[in-house]
């Protein structure tokens, strides 16, 4: 009887001690992080670090059409991107433009890009045969008027670069 009681008390104390030590172990860890928060914590001071913040090169923020210094782009208006897009984000309006030889040639009038529909899936860039569009690394897209999200990607007066078919 006494032995049983002794065992019970021993078990009881062991239980209580085990419980407390497991709690203390956790507290030690959080205490360590409290003391070493400068070293271990990863914090992006986001709006304040805009100047130094660099997104990864491949980060997909929005579709842009790069123009070179002569205000020329590489888009032929083949609508491959329009077909590849799952959401109807891209709409290409073409026009007929006279070439120097006097023939008429298809060229883009407006490259409409609706950012609000875009899911940044990169399918249009994959589809583009002339690498005319690419993904930009911007990510702050919020505006007050949703009409601003419908963008025209080709700059006014821009032309197709020579030699791109």
């Amino acid at each position: 009887m006494l032995a049983l009681l002794k065992m019970f008390i021993k078990e009881y104390i062991k239980d209580v001690w085990g419980a407390i030590s497991s709690l203390l172990k956790g507290m030690k860890l959080t205490g360590y992080y409290f003391m070493h928060h400068n070293k271990e914590a990863i914090t992006e001071q986001y709006p304040d670090n805009r100047k130094t913040l660099k997104m990864a090169d491949r980060f997909r923020g929005e579709v842009v059409m790069p123009h070179d210094e002569n205000n020329e782009h590489a888009c032929t208006g083949c609508t491959a991107c329009e077909l590849a897009c799952p959401n109807g984000t891209i709409k290409i309006i073409t026009k007929m433009e006279p070439t120097p030889e006097g023939k008429k040639k298809k060229a883009i009038d407006t490259f409409v890009y609706r950012l609000e529909l875009c899911t940044m899936c990169n399918l249009c860039i994959e589809a583009c045969p002339t690498d005319a569009i690419k993904m930009d690394q911007t990510f702050e897209h919020s505006v007050f008027d949703r009409r601003l999200l419908t963008k025209k990607l080709n700059k006014p007066e821009s032309k197709v670069r020579e030699g791109i078919e």
Partner: protein, 371 residues
């Protein structure tokens, strides 16, 4: 809804958990009937973020429909995409280059790690511990950085295309992954220290929400939830895809079927995932990353089914093709949907606090359930 209230016994309290509730991790609506603090019945009401992905896919081509699946189970978006790409490859009998296979598997396992880390933090948050959430996110941040660098996005990567992967890995990829594995190996012990050994945590978890093996099979559970009940259902082992049959890893099984078993299965799975990545990361073969495919994919007439092991369980895609460029009917068998159906069964008789803990260990992702 009103009939439900009327049909409950007197003295029962009908309480709505969700659609906006911290415990549901999304917009799941649970109508629970309580007797005091004890749960008598749980009734899930779904559809708050149903986007009708199955219907949408019927009008998308076989290249386009892949991106939608990353919006389902957003935590294992990579693996969902992988499953879809695999299905198209299977139907068209495309052999994909081994470099792409290796990269796909590494990415899958990284996604699984990230998903389990997030689960660990969120589950700890469900039972009231705050620090685990931050610890888990700190490590997850490294994975998402790796993903961002290589795939271009942090969560919905859309890195898989039928026939391979979209573009080659970033030059720093291998170095960063190795760094991450080394770092995470040292940090995963902290997970144990902080939570696993904790007496309060153990009391909250052990013997709670027991799902027997028969029930797990009958309810169609899969993934860690079923493996904790002793159901051997790891698709990676049973129906190996890509290069999983050449890899050395164990299927993690537990027999208890309680919350603690589910917890431990996932923790051990993190170790297994790291082992897999370590086996692969130094041996990525050189070569092509994409097999040659036609610009417009047309699946042959017929029915195709692919299964893949996501972080939550078995993800199945069933496509009925009429031979055109778009699927005739597509069905996603999402692991969360089946796992959720077992919730009512295992929660009954437990306290409301346990219900939250059980939901945490089931690891439900609501967009996955709603689709």
């Amino acid at each position: 809804m009103f009939e439900e209230v009327a049909s409950t016994e007197q003295g029962d309290l009908v309480i709505n958990i969700g659609p906006q509730h911290p415990a549901t991790h999304g917009v799941l609506h649970l109508v629970i009937t309580l007797n005091g603090e004890t749960v008598k019945k749980v009734e899930p009401h779904l559809g708050y973020i149903h986007r009708s992905i199955e219907k949408m896919c019927e009008s998308l081509s076989y290249r386009q429909f892949i991106y939608v699946t990353s919006r389902m189970d957003y935590l294992s978006s990579h693996i969902n995409n992988h499953g879809c790409a695999m299905l198209v490859e299977k139907a068209l009998q495309i052999e994909i280059p081994s470099r792409a296979q290796y990269i796909r598997v590494i990415m899958d396992e990284l996604t699984r790690l990230a998903s389990h880390q997030l689960w660990w933090g969120a589950m700890a948050m469900d039972i009231g511990a705050l620090t685990p959430f931050f610890l888990a996110f700190r490590e997850r941040e490294m994975i998402t950085d790796i993903m961002e660098e290589t795939c271009g996005a942090r969560l919905t990567m859309n890195y898989m295309v039928p026939g391979g992967i979209m573009y080659d890995i970033h030059p720093d990829f291998c170095k960063k992954v190795k760094e991450f594995i080394k770092h995470f190996r040292s940090k995963i012990d902290e997970y144990d220290e902080l939570l696993t050994g904790n007496i309060i945590f153990q009391n909250r978890m052990k013997g709670i929400g027991i799902l027997s093996k028969e029930d797990a099979i009958s309810y169609g559970c899969s993934g860690p939830t079923a493996r904790a009940s002793g159901v051997s259902c790891d698709v990676r082992k049973i129906y190996p895809y890509e290069i999983y049959d050449q890899l050395k890893f164990d299927e993690v099984l537990a027999t208890e079927g309680d919350s603690f078993a589910r917890y431990q299965v996932r923790l051990v799975e993190m170790h297994q995932s790291m082992n897999i990545i370590e086996q692969l990361i130094d041996n990525i073969p050189e070569g092509e990353i994409q097999a040659k495919t036609k610009a417009v994919l047309k699946l042959p007439k017929g029915e195709f089914y692919t299964r893949i092991e996501t972080a939550r369980g078995e993800f199945g895609i069933y496509i009925v093709s009429e031979g055109g460029t778009t699927p005739y009917r597509i069905k996603f068998r999402s692991p969360g949907f089946s796992n959720l159906s077992a919730l009512d069964h295992i929660v009954r008789g437990h306290k409301i606090g346990d219900m939250v803990a059980i939901m945490g260990t089931l690891d439900l992702v609501i967009p996955d359930i709603d689709r």
